[in-house]
Symmetry: C2
Subunit: 414 residues, 2 copies
């Protein structure tokens, strides 16, 4: 008998009708004989309404009290879904995060799961119950309610799957799976049958936040097979697991991209051991998140360091660097806004040294100028002008033939 954790996000449970739809799906899975834990988020806009109430009272609500407030959203959904399941004759029972044994750190608003006491859940699963658990929340050791921050419900689902040793964790959302690139921008984008955890992490921003990186990381660490599929359409989704059994011959599996990238260059820094650590510890202590980093020689005694940040941290970045000018001993500070990052992702590229060259050629042929480059074992990123972003993605999608279903995969799909 398969033990499965299913997760339905806010849009999938946004109304009574949608909750009934989820109940139908869960009922079918239960009738098919699976042991089931169902993790749900708050109904559609209900979290926004709760935040609105808090903001009517204060601009700076206590984080503990925000958690107390927001956790009611999921609690409403679990009770309603459980009622809908009981109506269908499914023996269901609802649990808040705390009741499900999810113990977190005491960091309100962004708590990490420390431990899951899964005895009760396992006993109930073995007794044939369908367990409906509130996502996004847990309790501290002293019983205070915490929330898990962004991607919290995905993390709950994966963590529960790991704790009860589930066969897989199914994430139902408003897209039908993971695509070669964002189908809203590129018409030829194609749904992938499978990706690896690392590829998924690199493509995290594809398809409007299909899956939160934190949840993917968790799934990777505990080797929980994930599936992403639509909560509305009956269609096979995308599997995320360590061994990608199909589409092996795809060197590049997808193209990720994001805009609002800004490049900052600190020019004429002393060429010393402590320059890099000093620079980036100043940035990190000011809360600036840096993505790509490039170091160039400037003259014999000096280097230039460029890095990319998101648009919204530019002001802070410039301010904290100007303040540290004497300490860092740099000569100039430049920045360039309205850039975008386009990345090709695929675990096959490790053994294919020509991949980056193919990428650069394709972009050059289309007169797309590359301003920064960064590579990892499964990704090559290029920073380009924001105006060139969509064209760059289309060009690369064609160059790596991502719209073609490859033979091996086609054979399996038939």
């Amino acid at each position: 008998m398969a033990r499965i954790v299913q997760k339905y996000g806010g849009t999938s449970v946004g109304s009574v009708e949608k909750i009934e739809n989820v109940a139908d799906r869960v009922t079918r899975a239960a009738e098919a004989g699976s042991e089931l834990i169902v993790v749900v988020s708050a109904m559609g806009k209900s979290t926004d309404q709760l935040v609105g109430l808090a903001n009517d009272i204060t601009e700076h609500p206590s984080k503990r009290e925000m958690d107390m407030l927001l956790s009611t959203g999921e609690q409403v959904t679990i009770s309603l879904l459980t009622m809908a399941l009981l109506k269908r004759g499914v023996e269901a029972v609802s649990y808040t995060g705390g009741q499900a044994g999810i113990l977190t750190e005491a960091t309100h608003g962004n708590a990490r799961i420390k431990e899951i006491d899964s005895e009760r859940l396992k006993n109930q699963l073995e007794a044939g119950k369908v367990l409906v658990v509130a996502g996004f929340q847990g309790v501290t050791e002293d019983g205070s309610i915490t929330t898990l921050g962004r991607g919290g419900s995905d993390t709950t689902a994966v963590a529960l799957a790991a704790a009860v040793e589930a066969d897989r964790c199914e994430i139902y959302t408003d897209v039908t799976g993971v695509f070669t690139t964002d189908p809203r921008y590129v018409k030829k984008a194609r749904k992938l049958q499978a990706v690896s955890y690392d590829e998924m992490l690199e493509m995290a921003n594809l398809g409007a936040g299909v899956l939160h990186p934190r949840a993917v990381e968790f799934a990777k660490n505990y080797e929980v097979p994930l599936m992403v599929a639509s909560s509305m359409v009956e269609e096979t989704g995308t599997m995320i697991e360590e061994e990608v059994t199909v589409e092996k011959n795809l060197i590049v599996r997808g193209i990720a991209f994001e805009n609002d990238v800004t490049k900052v260059t600190v020019a004429g820094l002393p060429n010393r051991m402590d320059t890099l650590p000093k620079l980036f510890s100043i940035l990190s202590s000011n809360g600036v998140n840096v993505d790509i980093i490039i170091q160039n020689q400037y003259d014999e005694d000096h280097v230039n360091i460029s890095f990319s940040i998101t648009q919204c941290s530019l002001k802070e970045t410039v301010a904290c660097l100007e303040q540290a000018k004497n300490e860092l001993e740099f000569e100039h500070l430049y920045h360039e806004e309205d850039l975008a990052k386009v990345s090709i992702v695929g675990s096959g590229m490790i053994s294919n040294p020509g991949v980056a060259a193919t990428m650069f050629e394709a972009l050059a042929k289309n007169e797309i100028f590359i301003k920064m480059v960064s590579t990892s074992e499964i990704k090559v990123s290029a920073v380009v002008s924001e105006d060139d972003m969509v064209m760059a993605v289309e060009v690369l999608h064609d160059a790596f033939k991502l719209d073609e279903v490859h033979e091996e995969q086609a054979a399996q799909l038939v």
Copy 2:
């Protein structure tokens, strides 16, 4: 330093503005140096909205899941009120029923409080915190959320007051206190300065459910002094305590009344020992709540038994009695609808045998026909036609001079 439990009901916290108003009041009490526990209900119509969602899904929602759903209402209020208090610089912290240590029986929808683990609350009070606790809810021993049923938040407040040995429990509501009779019907109705627990119990239905009998009972058992006052108007309320120190010379303290009363007569029952117990155990096992009971001789071997019920249980009553006709061996079953019960209440009447006579005379003089009578140590009730109800209350209010403030009280009020 006074230790006080304050309770604010649903209308008093029905909007963000009203929550701010409650926060102002709590802040003043905290600044005056009181140790405070504040118990709140769900915001205004929020419980109705949650019930509506459940009813959209099923006509017969699971009671456990209803408790899971409804308990979110108070949880929203405690977090918002706590934010409003923190904004005012008051060190406040919110607790759900479970977090406050309120342990109940496992009867979902109408649980009774079994025990309160008040260690944490006492420690926090002594540390100078204002504790904001969700009314109407608790947890079972295995951690399931329960609700306390009607009057639940009042009961929470009184139970917490007993558990932390508070000096008093203040119930803030939409009326300014307990009146001699319902001011919506009788213009001359006057607010009382104090009543005893028993008088309050007998007048429970005065002034639109000022205080739930269960809470009064609890307060009486644990000798918790209660105060009922308005959450909107700054005005001394009514004290409810064992020793009523003022208005002692008031033989009758108030006049309670209710409509929708139906009289049922079972005629020609065998005059045997087991007739009464058999009849009323049949009624109670069918969930029929009986109020006044009268037994008359019919002939040497037979008796008539009349009792009053609420209009809405008439159908069930007739059905279960007709079904038990052979077992009970009665001859006829009659009923009379559209009646009302008018009661004079006052602990002074025990030593005043003329009180009932004064009541009957006053009603007779105004041609109000009495259909049933029932007496207790502190109450005389008369069942009259519903059409006569308001006139009966006015006549009795005048007969017992309830609109006059008596000398002793007047002296103290100056």
